[in-house]
Amino acid sequence: MLSASEHTPLLRLTGISKSFGTQVALHPLDLSVARGDFVALLGPSGCGKTTLLRVIGGFLRSDQGRVEINGADVTDLGPEQRPTNMVFQGYGLFPHMTVRENVAYGLKIARVPAEKRNQAVGEILEMMHISGLSDRLPRALSGGQQQRVALARALVMKPSVLLLDEPLAALDLQLRKSMQIELRNLHREIGGTFICVTHDQGEAIGLANRVAVMNAGRIVQEGTPEDIYQRPSNAFVAGFVGESNILSLTRQSGSCRLADNIIPSSGPDGTVAMMIRPDDISLVEVKPAAEISLYGQLTDAVFMGDHVKLIVAAETGDTLTVHRSRQEWQSDPLESGKRVFASWSRDACHILEQS
């Protein structure tokens, strides 16, 4: 029994699709989440992340497909019957209840005896560092504090899956950074399964141990943050996750040409894309032998704080973005207008099918 539940994923979606009238929000998609995972659903605004999350939570019924949690089919169950809990986009705190009443609400509905309830609430408030706020109303709380209450209110239910819809979007940059760390620690501490929706790739990579990138109602790539960043499976993911240079090339009988470089690449003939991260490109004056390089002119250098962003106009007409660390740049600056070779190793670039 135990081994069975270890091998079945905690959450399994099969063939989930959803349309609003003629607007397709989700094309049929599958997703499995293992127990203890922190999954980020990452994608641009309007790609269907919230819709997917609401299907998992039971707020929306998918047009087709199955939702299983712990091996049980919950497709037809409403949110009140699912072992999931959600932290809503605007937090959804009950404005007429104090922090303590908000957090205790679910336990009260479940008729947990007062003593046990108070203990559970006290513990979670402690854990979220909001014990001191327990008698305040939500409107007397800052954004960050409201966020903690919303988390506490969901976590006190000990959900099998915690769903978070853009949990940090309403916070300012500073707070967002510190809440990110705290959310990670929280996940590690209580060891639950989290699914978090975000449109911020930095947040997804910083938070999750698995990332599902979505675009236009589909999951276009799923994997560890490293996979997603270093081995994007298509041009969309490459462009969306991190900064990247994407060059368009033609593939003909197993190889691509870029200026005078020949790059072997298997696959059908046609247009493909080459992706190189800006920090994988170096600028040199002598053409390096074993690397791929483009000759061009440095047109601009923009100081970005921790790094310097260089713009190179290549002979081929492409524009490349190159990153230099601040120290490197200060010890060896280049003049604007200088002619250079932009070069990178074969391992640093990826040939992506256009999609």
Binding site: E80, Q81, F88, G92, H96, Y105, I109, A110, R153, M157
Partner: protein, 257 residues
């Protein structure tokens, strides 16, 4: 302050005086010994109130007004809230049309409405009395409740309902623990407003009550017969009741113009 601003401010103060002064005078006269509506007010006295409360007419009218007002308030609240919930759930276009239809009685001159009701009651031989006054008031008070509650419900944060469901609450539990407490101020405000409107109505009441009297029809009767100084006391009473209800209502619904 510029001259222009000073002129505008003067205008503002004068318009405030224009709105308030006539009512303030009625109140002032009601507490003055002078029985005519002239200056000076005379020494302060409660004589007119004593005389008013001693009259049988007044007590009967007060009782009728109390019955009508409370029934209309209660029924408007119940019917209006139910309808507002229905409208919120129904298709947007449909509910908009419904709301417009149901607000029509407010747009019509009260006289036309009153005559239509009186004619219809006489054609159907329904005996006139408080039983005909109450539903007649209902048709022009319920739109206010519906519009206020509907506005509150459309501004209602849906994620609160979702949160409650997520935490396991049933529809009934959600209604009593989340929705009702949150709309309560609007609901009470709307109810008080419908009571103020009902309490103040003269035209419709006059044509649908038959023999009886309410406070406004009593005022009317006093105006038609003789200039009785107790009318100022009665007028003050009606003002305090209707304006008082309105003030609380607007405070509760947080309506600011």
């Amino acid at each position: 302050m510029t001259l222009r601003a000073a002129c505008w401010l003067t205008f503002g103060i004068l318009s405030a005086a224009f709105l308030v002064a006539p009512l303030a005078l009625v109140v002032a006269f009601s507490f003055g010994e002078n029985p005519h509506a002239t200056l000076p007010f005379g020494n302060p006295t409660l004589q007119w109130y004593r005389e008013l409360f001693a009259g049988d007419d007044f007590l009967a009218a007060l009782q009728n007004s109390a019955i009508v007002t409370s029934c209309v308030g209660l029924l408007s609240a119940v019917l209006g809230t139910a309808a507002a919930f229905g409208f919120t759930a129904l298709d947007r276009k449909l509910s908009r049309l419904g709301a417009q239809l149901i607000s029509l009685p407010v747009m019509l001159p009260p006289l036309v409405l009153a005559l239509a009701l009186a004619t219809a009651f006489s054609a159907t031989r329904i005996p006139l009395g408080l039983g005909t006054v109450i539903p007649s008031h209902l048709i022009f008070t319920q739109p206010f409740v519906i519009l206020i509650i509907y506005a509150r419900l459309t501004a209602f944060d849906r994620s609160l309902i979702d949160s409650a469901r997520d935490l396991g609450a049933s529809s009934l539990q959600i209604f009593f623990t989340i929705t009702l407490p949150l709309i309560a101020p609007s609901l009470i405000g709307a109810t008080l407003l419908s009571m103020a409107i009902s309490l103040d109505d003269f035209v419709i009441t006059f044509f649908t009550i038959g023999g009886g009297m309410t406070l406004p029809t009593l005022i009317w009767g006093m105006l038609r017969t003789h200039l009785d100084p107790t009318i100022n006391a009665l007028g003050t009473l009606v003002l305090v009741l209707t304006l008082g209800l309105s003030v609380i209502a607007f405070k509760l619904t947080r309506y600011k113009g």
